[in-house]
Protein backbone atom coordinates (compact mmCIF):
# COMPACT_ATOMS: atom_id res chain seq x y z
CA UNK A 1 0.00 0.00 0.00
CA UNK A 2 1.12 3.50 -0.74
CA UNK A 3 1.82 5.32 2.50
CA UNK A 4 3.07 8.63 1.27
CA UNK A 5 3.17 10.33 -2.07
CA UNK A 6 4.95 13.55 -2.94
CA UNK A 7 3.82 15.34 -6.08
CA UNK A 8 5.76 18.15 -7.74
CA UNK A 9 7.25 19.19 -4.46
CA UNK A 10 9.14 22.48 -4.71
CA UNK A 11 10.93 24.50 -2.08
CA UNK A 12 12.44 27.76 -3.16
CA UNK A 13 14.69 30.11 -1.28
CA UNK A 14 14.77 33.43 -3.06
CA UNK A 15 15.58 32.71 -6.67
CA UNK A 16 16.96 29.25 -6.24
CA UNK A 17 15.06 26.07 -5.65
CA UNK A 18 16.55 23.77 -3.05
CA UNK A 19 14.05 21.16 -4.13
CA UNK A 20 12.92 21.43 -7.69
CA UNK A 21 9.69 19.57 -8.37
CA UNK A 22 10.17 16.05 -7.11
CA UNK A 23 7.77 13.13 -7.35
CA UNK A 24 8.01 9.90 -5.48
CA UNK A 25 6.06 7.60 -3.26
CA UNK A 26 6.82 5.38 -0.31
CA UNK A 27 5.25 1.98 0.11
CA UNK A 28 4.12 0.94 3.54
CA UNK A 29 6.58 -1.31 5.35
CA UNK A 30 9.57 -0.40 3.22
CA UNK A 31 12.86 1.02 4.27
CA UNK A 32 13.73 3.75 1.83
CA UNK A 33 17.01 5.56 1.65
CA UNK A 34 17.39 9.00 0.20
CA UNK A 35 20.84 9.32 -1.29
CA UNK A 36 22.65 12.33 -2.54
CA UNK A 37 25.69 14.50 -2.04
CA UNK A 38 25.62 17.37 0.43
CA UNK A 39 23.44 20.16 -0.82
CA UNK A 40 21.29 17.92 -3.00
CA UNK A 41 18.15 18.95 -1.10
CA UNK A 42 17.75 15.88 1.11
CA UNK A 43 17.17 17.67 4.39
CA UNK A 44 14.80 20.17 2.80
CA UNK A 45 12.79 17.28 1.35
CA UNK A 46 12.62 15.47 4.67
CA UNK A 47 11.60 18.61 6.51
CA UNK A 48 8.77 19.18 4.07
CA UNK A 49 7.57 15.62 4.52
CA UNK A 50 7.68 15.92 8.28
CA UNK A 51 5.59 19.07 8.27
CA UNK A 52 8.33 21.28 9.63
CA UNK A 53 8.68 23.21 6.40
CA UNK A 54 5.93 24.49 4.14
CA UNK A 55 6.53 23.50 0.48
CA UNK A 56 6.55 26.41 -1.95
CA UNK A 57 4.32 24.33 -4.19
CA UNK A 58 3.29 20.75 -4.72
CA UNK A 59 1.44 18.40 -2.46
CA UNK A 60 1.95 15.51 -0.11
CA UNK A 61 -0.61 12.73 0.18
CA UNK A 62 -0.67 10.47 3.17
CA UNK A 63 -2.56 7.19 2.79
CA UNK A 64 -4.22 8.54 -0.31
CA UNK A 65 -5.49 11.71 1.29
CA UNK A 66 -4.18 15.20 0.99
CA UNK A 67 -2.30 15.73 4.19
CA UNK A 68 -2.78 18.84 6.25
CA UNK A 69 -0.63 18.24 9.28
CA UNK A 70 1.47 15.12 8.98
CA UNK A 71 3.20 15.50 12.30
CA UNK A 72 0.96 13.09 14.27
CA UNK A 73 1.90 10.24 11.94
CA UNK A 74 5.57 10.94 11.59
CA UNK A 75 8.54 10.46 13.84
CA UNK A 76 11.47 12.64 12.87
CA UNK A 77 15.09 12.52 13.87
CA UNK A 78 16.96 15.59 12.66
CA UNK A 79 20.57 15.48 11.62
CA UNK A 80 21.65 17.24 14.78
CA UNK A 81 19.10 16.35 17.44
CA UNK A 82 18.95 18.86 20.29
CA UNK A 83 17.49 18.41 23.73
CA UNK A 84 16.82 20.30 26.90
CA UNK A 85 20.12 19.39 28.46
CA UNK A 86 18.86 20.06 31.98
CA UNK A 87 16.33 17.24 31.63
CA UNK A 88 17.10 13.62 32.21
CA UNK A 89 16.74 11.23 29.30
CA UNK A 90 13.50 9.90 30.65
CA UNK A 91 12.06 13.33 31.39
CA UNK A 92 12.66 14.36 27.80
CA UNK A 93 10.98 11.25 26.41
CA UNK A 94 7.92 11.70 28.62
CA UNK A 95 7.81 15.35 27.59
CA UNK A 96 8.04 14.40 23.89
CA UNK A 97 5.39 11.72 24.35
CA UNK A 98 2.98 14.15 25.97
CA UNK A 99 3.55 16.64 23.16
CA UNK A 100 2.57 13.84 20.80
CA UNK A 101 -0.68 13.55 22.71
CA UNK A 102 0.02 10.51 24.82
CA UNK A 103 -1.33 10.82 28.32
CA UNK A 104 1.17 10.87 31.15
CA UNK A 105 0.83 7.19 31.98
CA UNK A 106 1.23 6.04 28.39
CA UNK A 107 4.14 8.39 27.91
CA UNK A 108 5.89 6.99 30.99
CA UNK A 109 5.32 3.42 29.94
CA UNK A 110 6.42 3.98 26.37
CA UNK A 111 9.50 5.88 27.56
CA UNK A 112 10.59 3.01 29.77
CA UNK A 113 10.10 0.59 26.90
CA UNK A 114 12.13 2.67 24.48
CA UNK A 115 14.89 3.44 26.97
CA UNK A 116 15.27 -0.27 27.50
CA UNK A 117 15.27 -0.94 23.79
CA UNK A 118 17.75 1.80 22.98
CA UNK A 119 20.12 0.62 25.68
CA UNK A 120 19.65 3.76 27.72
CA UNK A 121 17.93 2.23 30.73
CA UNK A 122 20.97 2.80 32.94
CA UNK A 123 21.29 6.41 31.91
CA UNK A 124 17.63 7.34 32.07
CA UNK A 125 17.95 9.41 35.23
CA UNK A 126 21.10 11.18 34.16
CA UNK A 127 21.00 14.66 32.70
CA UNK A 128 21.21 14.73 28.91
CA UNK A 129 24.06 17.23 29.30
CA UNK A 130 26.32 14.27 30.14
CA UNK A 131 25.27 12.00 27.26
CA UNK A 132 27.72 10.98 24.55
CA UNK A 133 27.01 11.58 20.88
CA UNK A 134 25.85 8.01 20.36
CA UNK A 135 23.57 8.17 23.38
CA UNK A 136 22.01 11.39 22.14
CA UNK A 137 21.40 9.80 18.76
CA UNK A 138 19.67 6.84 20.40
CA UNK A 139 17.63 9.18 22.58
CA UNK A 140 16.73 11.05 19.40
CA UNK A 141 15.60 7.79 17.86
CA UNK A 142 13.54 7.04 20.96
CA UNK A 143 11.77 10.42 20.90
CA UNK A 144 10.97 9.91 17.24
CA UNK A 145 9.37 6.54 18.02
CA UNK A 146 7.57 7.62 21.19
CA UNK A 147 4.11 7.97 19.61
CA UNK A 148 4.39 4.85 17.43
CA UNK A 149 4.54 6.83 14.18
CA UNK A 150 3.56 5.22 10.91
CA UNK A 151 6.54 6.71 9.15
CA UNK A 152 9.94 7.25 10.69
CA UNK A 153 12.05 9.89 9.00
CA UNK A 154 15.75 10.00 9.86
CA UNK A 155 18.07 12.67 8.56
CA UNK A 156 21.63 11.33 8.27
CA UNK A 157 21.13 9.09 11.30
CA UNK A 158 24.65 7.67 11.38
CA UNK A 159 26.92 10.12 9.64
CA UNK A 160 28.06 11.91 12.81
CA UNK A 161 28.81 8.73 14.75
CA UNK A 162 31.97 6.76 15.31
CA UNK A 163 32.08 3.20 13.90
CA UNK A 164 30.74 1.68 17.11
CA UNK A 165 27.84 4.11 17.43
CA UNK A 166 27.14 3.70 13.75
CA UNK A 167 26.87 -0.06 14.11
CA UNK A 168 24.51 0.33 17.09
CA UNK A 169 22.17 2.69 15.29
CA UNK A 170 22.15 0.62 12.10
CA UNK A 171 21.27 -2.48 14.09
CA UNK A 172 18.44 -0.60 15.77
CA UNK A 173 17.16 0.60 12.42
CA UNK A 174 17.12 -2.99 11.23
CA UNK A 175 14.92 -3.85 14.22
CA UNK A 176 12.61 -0.87 13.78
CA UNK A 177 12.27 -1.67 10.09
CA UNK A 178 10.21 -4.72 10.99
CA UNK A 179 7.38 -2.66 12.38
CA UNK A 180 7.60 0.80 10.86
CA UNK A 181 8.16 2.33 7.46
CA UNK A 182 11.46 4.16 7.40
CA UNK A 183 12.76 6.92 5.19
CA UNK A 184 16.31 7.97 5.88
CA UNK A 185 18.82 10.14 4.15
CA UNK A 186 22.48 9.39 3.89
CA UNK A 187 25.48 10.13 1.78
CA UNK A 188 27.09 6.85 2.76
CA UNK A 189 26.18 4.33 0.09
CA UNK A 190 27.23 1.39 2.09
CA UNK A 191 24.56 2.10 4.72
CA UNK A 192 21.91 2.42 2.06
CA UNK A 193 22.91 -0.86 0.46
CA UNK A 194 22.95 -2.56 3.82
CA UNK A 195 19.49 -1.85 5.12
CA UNK A 196 17.23 -0.25 2.57
CA UNK A 197 14.73 -1.91 0.25
CA UNK A 198 14.33 1.07 -2.03
CA UNK A 199 16.46 4.02 -2.92
CA UNK A 200 15.92 7.53 -4.14
CA UNK A 201 18.96 9.29 -5.51
CA UNK A 202 18.77 13.05 -5.38
CA UNK A 203 20.97 15.49 -7.15
CA UNK A 204 20.67 19.27 -7.38
CA UNK A 205 17.13 19.34 -6.03
CA UNK A 206 15.82 16.62 -8.30
CA UNK A 207 15.33 12.91 -8.06
CA UNK A 208 17.66 11.29 -10.53
CA UNK A 209 16.94 7.64 -9.92
CA UNK A 210 14.36 5.82 -7.84
CA UNK A 211 13.16 2.28 -7.37
CA UNK A 212 13.75 -0.79 -5.32
CA UNK A 213 17.38 -1.44 -4.55
CA UNK A 214 17.36 -4.65 -6.56
CA UNK A 215 15.65 -3.25 -9.64
CA UNK A 216 17.83 -0.17 -9.68
CA UNK A 217 20.92 -2.31 -9.40
CA UNK A 218 19.73 -4.58 -12.14
CA UNK A 219 18.67 -1.82 -14.42
CA UNK A 220 21.81 0.21 -14.09
CA UNK A 221 24.26 -2.55 -13.46
CA UNK A 222 26.93 -2.85 -16.08
CA UNK A 223 29.70 -5.34 -16.39
CA UNK A 224 33.03 -3.86 -15.61
CA UNK A 225 36.58 -5.04 -16.18
CA UNK A 226 39.22 -4.08 -13.69
CA UNK A 227 42.74 -4.41 -15.02
CA UNK A 228 45.85 -3.65 -13.10
CA UNK A 229 49.12 -3.31 -14.99
CA UNK A 230 52.66 -3.55 -13.81
CA UNK A 231 53.56 -0.59 -15.97
CA UNK A 232 51.36 2.05 -17.56
CA UNK A 233 49.71 0.98 -20.78
CA UNK A 234 48.24 4.24 -21.87
CA UNK A 235 48.62 3.71 -25.60
CA UNK A 236 46.65 0.53 -25.66
CA UNK A 237 44.00 1.94 -23.35
CA UNK A 238 43.53 4.87 -25.68
CA UNK A 239 43.09 2.57 -28.60
CA UNK A 240 40.44 0.37 -27.03
CA UNK A 241 38.02 3.27 -26.64
CA UNK A 242 37.20 2.74 -30.29
CA UNK A 243 35.82 -0.78 -29.76
CA UNK A 244 32.07 -0.76 -29.99
CA UNK A 245 31.61 -2.83 -26.82
CA UNK A 246 33.51 -0.39 -24.62
CA UNK A 247 31.41 2.36 -23.11
CA UNK A 248 33.78 3.94 -20.64
CA UNK A 249 37.45 3.78 -19.67
CA UNK A 250 38.65 5.15 -16.37
CA UNK A 251 42.39 5.22 -15.75
CA UNK A 252 43.82 5.69 -12.28
CA UNK A 253 47.58 5.17 -12.38
CA UNK A 254 48.24 1.53 -13.14
CA UNK A 255 44.64 0.59 -12.47
CA UNK A 256 41.97 0.81 -15.09
CA UNK A 257 38.28 0.11 -15.01
CA UNK A 258 36.52 -0.50 -18.28
CA UNK A 259 32.76 -0.46 -18.48
CA UNK A 260 31.58 -2.89 -21.12
CA UNK A 261 28.38 -3.16 -23.03
CA UNK A 262 29.00 -6.73 -24.03
CA UNK A 263 30.95 -8.76 -21.54
CA UNK A 264 31.40 -12.00 -23.48
CA UNK A 265 32.73 -10.46 -26.64
CA UNK A 266 34.61 -7.68 -24.90
CA UNK A 267 36.39 -9.94 -22.48
CA UNK A 268 37.72 -12.17 -25.24
CA UNK A 269 38.83 -9.38 -27.49
CA UNK A 270 40.60 -7.52 -24.74
CA UNK A 271 42.30 -10.64 -23.39
CA UNK A 272 43.51 -11.47 -26.85
CA UNK A 273 44.86 -7.95 -27.23
CA UNK A 274 46.72 -8.21 -23.98
CA UNK A 275 48.31 -11.50 -24.93
CA UNK A 276 49.28 -10.30 -28.40
CA UNK A 277 50.85 -7.13 -27.14
CA UNK A 278 52.46 -8.89 -24.18
CA UNK A 279 51.10 -6.25 -21.79
CA UNK A 280 52.31 -6.79 -18.21
CA UNK A 281 49.07 -7.53 -16.37
CA UNK A 282 49.01 -8.00 -12.60
CA UNK A 283 45.31 -8.41 -12.17
CA UNK A 284 42.39 -9.02 -14.52
CA UNK A 285 39.02 -9.00 -12.79
CA UNK A 286 35.47 -9.16 -14.00
CA UNK A 287 32.91 -7.44 -11.79
CA UNK A 288 29.85 -5.24 -11.94
CA UNK A 289 29.22 -1.59 -11.31
CA UNK A 290 28.32 -0.86 -7.73
CA UNK A 291 25.89 1.62 -6.26
CA UNK A 292 28.83 3.90 -5.83
CA UNK A 293 29.61 3.92 -9.54
CA UNK A 294 25.98 4.66 -10.25
CA UNK A 295 25.96 7.40 -7.66
CA UNK A 296 29.11 8.98 -9.03
CA UNK A 297 27.68 8.91 -12.52
CA UNK A 298 24.49 10.66 -11.39
CA UNK A 299 26.36 13.28 -9.43
CA UNK A 300 28.86 14.04 -12.15
CA UNK A 301 26.41 14.24 -15.01
Amino acid sequence: MELLKASDLVKGYGNTNAVNGINFHIEEGRCVSLLGPNGAGKTTTLKMLSGLLEPTSGSIDFKGEKAKDLRPFIGYLPQYPAFYNWMSGKEFLVFAGQLAKLNRKEAEKRSEELLERMGLANAKKRKIRGYSGGMKQRLGLAQALIHRPELLILDEPVSALDPLGRREVLDMMREIKKETTILFSTHVLHDAEEISDSILIMHAGEIAISGSLRSVMEEYRQPILQIEFEAPAADWLKSIASYSFVSEVNIQGNKTSIVLKDMVNGKQTLLKDIVERKLPVRKFEISQTTLEDLFMRVVKS
Partner: protein, 67 residues
Protein backbone atom coordinates in the same frame (compact mmCIF):
# COMPACT_ATOMS: atom_id res chain seq x y z
CA UNK B 1 32.22 53.12 63.07
CA UNK B 2 30.82 54.88 66.04
CA UNK B 3 27.41 53.22 66.06
CA UNK B 4 27.02 50.83 68.95
CA UNK B 5 25.88 47.40 67.84
CA UNK B 6 22.62 47.55 69.76
CA UNK B 7 21.57 50.69 67.88
CA UNK B 8 21.64 48.99 64.52
CA UNK B 9 18.03 48.17 63.69
CA UNK B 10 18.48 44.46 63.33
CA UNK B 11 14.79 43.76 62.95
CA UNK B 12 14.76 45.66 59.67
CA UNK B 13 18.22 44.76 58.43
CA UNK B 14 18.33 41.05 59.20
CA UNK B 15 15.81 39.92 56.55
CA UNK B 16 17.75 41.89 53.94
CA UNK B 17 20.99 40.23 54.94
CA UNK B 18 19.34 36.81 54.93
CA UNK B 19 17.95 37.35 51.43
CA UNK B 20 21.32 38.52 50.17
CA UNK B 21 22.87 35.43 51.69
CA UNK B 22 20.32 33.17 50.00
CA UNK B 23 20.98 34.91 46.70
CA UNK B 24 24.71 34.47 47.13
CA UNK B 25 24.46 30.81 48.09
CA UNK B 26 22.11 30.04 45.20
CA UNK B 27 24.47 31.71 42.77
CA UNK B 28 27.43 29.86 44.25
CA UNK B 29 25.70 26.49 44.07
CA UNK B 30 24.63 27.14 40.50
CA UNK B 31 28.09 28.33 39.50
CA UNK B 32 29.89 25.38 41.04
CA UNK B 33 27.48 22.85 39.57
CA UNK B 34 27.68 24.41 36.13
CA UNK B 35 30.03 22.49 33.88
CA UNK B 36 31.23 25.55 32.05
CA UNK B 37 30.53 29.21 32.65
CA UNK B 38 30.93 32.15 30.31
CA UNK B 39 34.38 33.25 31.37
CA UNK B 40 36.53 31.75 34.11
CA UNK B 41 34.61 30.12 36.91
CA UNK B 42 36.90 31.31 39.70
CA UNK B 43 36.30 34.92 38.63
CA UNK B 44 32.56 34.43 38.89
CA UNK B 45 32.95 32.90 42.31
CA UNK B 46 34.90 35.95 43.46
CA UNK B 47 32.23 38.21 41.95
CA UNK B 48 29.46 36.35 43.73
CA UNK B 49 31.25 36.33 47.07
CA UNK B 50 32.49 39.87 47.19
CA UNK B 51 30.01 42.04 45.32
CA UNK B 52 26.75 41.66 47.14
CA UNK B 53 23.52 41.67 45.13
CA UNK B 54 25.16 42.77 41.88
CA UNK B 55 27.65 39.90 41.74
CA UNK B 56 25.06 37.11 41.88
CA UNK B 57 22.73 38.97 39.49
CA UNK B 58 25.51 39.47 36.95
CA UNK B 59 26.39 35.81 37.27
CA UNK B 60 22.81 34.66 36.70
CA UNK B 61 22.34 36.93 33.71
CA UNK B 62 25.71 36.61 31.98
CA UNK B 63 27.63 33.78 33.59
CA UNK B 64 25.39 30.88 32.73
CA UNK B 65 25.44 29.28 29.34
CA UNK B 66 22.12 28.98 27.64
CA UNK B 67 21.30 25.34 27.28
Amino acid sequence: MNVPLNEIPWGAIAPILVLQLILMITALVSCIREEKTNGPKWLWILFILFISLIGPVLYFVFGRRNN
